[in-house]
Amino acid sequence: MHNFIIQYFGTNVWTALVSSVIPLIWILTYALVAIWLELKISAHMQDRLGPMRTGKWHGWAQPLADVTKLLQKEDIIPAAADKALYLLAPFLVFVGGYAAYAAIPFSPAYIGADINVGIFYIIAVSAIVVLGILMAGWSSNNKWSLLGAMRTAAQLVSYEIPSSLAVLAVIMVAGSLSLNEICEAQSGWFWNWFVFGKFPFLFITFVIYFIASLAETNRAPFDIPEAESELVAGYHTEYSGMRFAIFYVAEYANMFTVAAIASILFFGGWSSPFGTFMSGPVWGAFWLISKGMVMIFIQMWLRWTLPRFRVDQLMYLSWKVLTPFALVNIFAVGLWIVLKG
């Protein structure tokens, strides 16, 4: 599809614009669906019904109503805030999440930039999010925001290590940093997926990556940066209206990024689980999105199952459990590759 766009528009600014807008459209539609799913899943897990009125059928229009409300709200800037940083922060957070979409292969035919260091690029560019969150927390000139931002920074920096180490194990097996090649390496039937490879080491890798990715997206049980009961809303306490909505969309964009990466690295990405059956450029997008949505469902499932970690428990989990396990895992996978190939 990217090639098609290049053929149609030529290599100019329009090509860049069109191929960069496609993921944005996807994020916005996906975010609406995911917000609705989150509302309904959380409600039903607590034996409630959730929104039932907006849009007649099971409240399907609730996210639309929420977005409309946020659009109409006043954009409040606190008097004591550092105005320039305050206004810039939500966009920086969103850019960090959005830039990752450039290297996500939605299907064999559509990838924003098929760079040979795709996964490395995504890990690197996701780190910008920390900057944006720190900016938001600092510029709000508010204790809650600052504490939330500091916690986020500590959490993200800590959890990047186990998640990167987990990714490294997969890269060793695939022998490539390109996400398209990692997908191709798992094509064929679902037992070729890396989650079943080098059993059980890559499965442990997947668990480590999944836990770390939950922490990186600031979702429960790792949502101490925005722990309602302690910090009101954390780094975006002072934000209102559209700027708050951008933070929210950025969180959901990040959720899908980590879910897509997990499904690419461990569950074959766009490759069909049934060999050549239902495989192709369009089916590729279908499989990646379905796998990603399953991951997102598990994220929500965990969110409504587990209570929030304490800060020290969070650090304990990262530094004393996940990191050593990831290191031992890399060693075991490496040994396996050296001995058995």
Partner: protein, 225 residues
């Protein structure tokens, strides 16, 4: 040694308990929700639940017993005597109605839903219904008028009763005057002849004892009548 095994046991336990928790939430995901979609669906109320009062004015004889029973004085009843020529009909329990109920107001802003007004009613015309939603924008809207007479009719009935009373009083006064005159004449006669006692029999009307009605009238969930 023990700390190392503790470390691994802790991790294993943590992992296992997370799985148990996920199992519980997954089970609840498919448990039917306990929510009742309120305005569309309602919870049943108890059979003898005490909610809004209703007065069936067809059966009301204006005896004031509910007003007297009310601990918060939320019932206001005013009555006017009917003329002997007027026939107010019978209650469903076969009792003759003698009074025009010119006012029967219940202030649900005051009502404490104790239900004490229900048992004294001799015709069982005041009773609790199952209506429990009657919010109002103004407190005066919570005063429900149950009387079937319009204000003009009520005023006319009161006036008529007062006139009848005045007439009766005038008649009585005239009769008393006549009696006094007669007495004086008799006294004058008695002075001539020994008096003969002639006491006119006074017809004392005993208060009407109403028997309890045989059947309770069907529930009516009407609004203000």
């Amino acid at each position: 040694m023990s700390s190392v095994s503790n470390y691994f046991r802790n991790i294993g336990k943590g992992f296992w308990t997370v799985l148990i928790g996920m199992k519980i939430t997954m089970r609840h995901l498919f448990t039917p929700a306990v929510t009742i979609q309120y305005p569309d669906a309602r919870m049943g109320i108890p059979e003898r639940g005490r909610n809004r009062l209703y007065v069936n004015m067809d059966d009301c004889i204006g005896c004031d017993q509910c007003e007297m029973a009310c601990p918060v004085n939320c019932i206001t009843i005013e009555t006017a005597k009917s003329l002997p020529t007027e026939d107010l009909g019978l209650t469903s329990t076969g009792q003759k109605k003698r009074l025009w109920v010119t006012k029967f107001d219940i202030d649900f802003g005051k009502c404490c839903y104790c239900g004490l007004c229900v048992p004294p009613c001799p015709t069982e015309c005041i009773y609790m219904t199952s209506v429990y939603e009657f919010s109002a924008y103004d407190r005066s809207e919570l005063v429900y008028n149950f009387t079937t007479l319009t204000p003009e009719e009520s005023a006319a009935k009161v006036k008529q009763a007062q006139e009848a009373e005045r007439e009766a009083a005038a008649k009585k006064a005239a009769a008393a005057a006549a009696a006094a005159a007669q007495k004086a004449a008799q006294a004058a006669a008695a002075q001539a002849a020994p008096a003969s006692p002639a006491a006119p029999a006074q017809t004392a009307q005993p208060p009407a004892q109403q028997p309890p009605p045989a059947d309770k009238p069907a529930d009516q969930n009407e609004n203000k009548s």
